[in-house]
Amino acid sequence: MTIIKVDNLQKSFGENEVLKSINLEVNKGEVICIIGPSGSGKSTFLRCLNGLESVNGGHIKIDENDLTDHSTRIDIIRQNIGMVFQQFNLFPHLTVAENITLAPVELKKMSKSEAYQRALDLLEMVGLEEKIDDYPDSLSGGQQQRVAIARALAMNPEVMLFDEPTSALDPEMVGEVLGVMKKLVDEGMTMVIVTHEMGFARQVADRVIFMDDGYIVEENVPDKLFDEPNEIRTQTFLDKVL
């Protein structure tokens, strides 16, 4: 079943064409990893998927709702799409528990006590239940990112988007975040991950997408894409990073 359907997507920042013509379908339960050099448009593409960037052409359908249609209530679509940022973006004035329960309670998805219980369960899943009453400032980068994942999961989204979730972390903390993401993969979550962790992509992805210069250059199952790429550009990129 198709959850995300992207059709001829175009995006420019002023004169700069960042996405030229992107087509992609994501099925339920699929894990997609997007790789590519910096400036290739992969983060911008991910941000288009939940409407954080407006688009200049084409269509993005999430469960048949077209994000590019102005009558679409984007905030309601987003309740169904969790997002994890490179810089975590936890709310510094709220405790870990409040960070996680804010959206479900404000949007009347859960009562306060239900949301708190859900927060406890999620924190247990990411291994941080003892931090529930702490403020983000007192957590390490890896811990903050794990809380951010729990926060995104609190709304029970159908899809999770990850925008370079480990790029801002010290190397010794990358593992704990990838570990949590691996758990989600095992639970069957639909995920779109922009990443530089090639090993992780090879391990978890159903499909890997290589983007360069605003296009999807190549997509394939991980072993094929990493070991026998069809395109010279893919090969050149992989030679540099592997």
Partner: protein, 478 residues
């Protein structure tokens, strides 16, 4: 409690306060006409605040006696001479009594009562001055008070005798200017000078003759309040017949008034002697700043939000408002609201309301900019994190942006409050007797500007220091 309920509650308090203030101005007028009479703040012996803190003088005693004789009621507005005349023109007051000379020019705009006193403008120098005649004033500076007959006289004679003018709003400033040596002479109505000289407040030497001797009368707008004129004239005639008129004049200019008063009391004695008016002035300053700032905070947040809005119309409107308010001096705004709007529209405010409107309008613009700055200083990632959770714009604003923005903005807001508090002193120009105006009035009586301004300054500093320390502590707890 939802934000809407909170807003309703807050606006409710606001309207309650406004309603209370508006009521105070109008509650008496229901029964029978109470005449609003504007007067000068200090123009001894015509009007001034005496040692006991009572507002007295020839004008005041005459008005009181005549009102009693004729059985009408009046309410005083102590505005300063120019402000009183402007208030009359804009129908904020029914009449003005302020040792006002009856001139042909003024008769075009106003109707006057029968004269109750006659006097002219007099040049004077300090008793020990070397200047003995108008001729000696060549190349010197003469202090005058704007809008007075003395000003006209001095302007006319300045070319003939070759002196230049320093123009002041208040008699006190005029004398101070001479005492510190900036100007060598002052020009003022003879009885005013005679009073100041005789009571030993300032020792003067009169030079030249009285100029442009004219009659003093109470003024009303042309064609209006004729019954007030009639009653004043009838009452004045009765007082003259009964001898009470002579008593009143003698009270201020006769031998009994000419006692040397205590001079150069030390600062502590000055403070204790004037404790009551000082505290009243302080209280006026405090409540005006708090009410104005509270109102400005509400509208400042609204306009600040408009400034950060994606809707360009709201954004532009907010920008225009901010540009206008930042571009206009507070004193101009105060004059426009208190004198200009009534004259243009007939809509009247009492001085406190006008003062609060002035301060709030002004502070709203600055608070809006502080709010905008605070909102824009919140990391962009915070908005994106909120949006990505499916939060609406208003929830994102209320739960994520504003709490962080208000923390960022707090020091600037405290600073703005201090500015607003100090700006209340500007409201003295529309006759509000706040702390600064209180100082002016006390000095007008005592001529002790050094110690009184020290006291007033110290009171501001203590008040502001206490309030900022309190709010800094509050800020830390947030």
């Amino acid at each position: 409690m939802s934000i809407y309920k909170k807003m309703v509650k807050r606006f409710g308090i606001l309207f309650f306060i406004l309603g209370f203030l508006l009521n105070r101005g109008t509650e008496v007028s229901a029964q029978e006409k109470v005449y609003i009479i504007g007067t000068d703040t200090t123009y001894a012996p015509f009007e001034y605040v005496d040692e006991e803190g009572d507002f007295v003088g020839i004008d005041m005693d005459l008005l009181e006696a005549i009102a009693e004789d004729q059985g009408f009621e009046y309410e005083l507005r102590i505005l300063g001479f120019n402000a009183a005349v402007q208030a009359l023109e804009s129908n904020q007051v029914d009449g003005v009594i302020a040792g006002m000379s009856i001139t042909d020019e003024r008769k075009e705009a106003f109707d006057f009562t029968d004269p109750y006193y006659s006097s002219g403008s007099q040049f004077a120098v300090l008793e020990d001055s070397e200047v003995d005649s108008l001729e000696d004033l060549e190349g010197k500076i003469v202090a005058v008070k704007t809008g007075t007959t003395g000003f006209d006289v001095a302007t006319e004679l300045s070319e003939e005798y070759g002196f230049t003018l320093n123009v002041f709003e208040d008699s006190v400033n005029m004398y101070e200017d001479m005492q510190v040596g900036n100007s060598v002479a002052v020009v003022e109505d003879y009885p005013v000078m005679l009073y100041a000289h005789s009571t030993g407040r300032i020792r003067l030497k009169f030079i030249g003759e009285q100029q442009a001797v004219a009659d003093n009368g109470l003024a009303v707008n042309k064609g209006e309040n004729q019954e007030l004129l009639q009653m004043f004239n009838d009452g004045l005639a009765n007082l003259r017949a009964s001898g009470e008129y002579e008593e009143i004049i003698a009270r201020y200019l006769g031998e009994e008034a000419l006692e040397e008063e205590n001079k150069n009391q030390n600062i502590i004695v000055q403070f204790i002697n004037n404790l009551e008016p000082l505290m009243e002035g302080l209280w006026q300053t405090i409540w005006l700043s708090f009410v104005s700032f509270f109102i400005a905070l509400i509208f400042g947040v609204i306009i600040g939000l408009m400034r950060t809005s994606d809707v360009s119309l709201l954004n532009i409107l907010a920008q225009i408002y901010i540009d206008i308010m930042r571009g206009s001096p507070l004193i101009v705004l105060a004059f426009f609201i208190y004198f200009g709007i009534p004259q243009m529209t007939g809509l009247k405010f009492n001085a406190n309301i006008a003062g609060i409107i002035t301060l709030s309008l002004n502070a709203t613009a600055y608070i809006a900019e502080i709010v905008r700055g605070g909102i824009q200083a919140v990391n962009k990632g915070q908005v994106e994190a909120g949006k990505s959770l499916g939060l609406t714009n208003s929830i994102t604003m209320r739960r994520i942006i504003l709490p962080q923005a208000s923390k960022i903005a707090m020091p600037s807001l405290i600073n703005q409050f201090v500015i607003t508090l100090k700006d209340t002193s500007i409201l003295s120009v529309i006759g509000i007797v706040e702390l600064t105006q209180t100082g002016k009035i006390i000095i007008a009586r005592t001529y002790q500007s050094g110690s009184i301004w020290l006291i007033i300054g110290a009171m501001y500093i203590i008040l502001i220091t206490v309030l900022t320390k309190l709010s800094n502590r509050l800020e830390k707890e947030l």
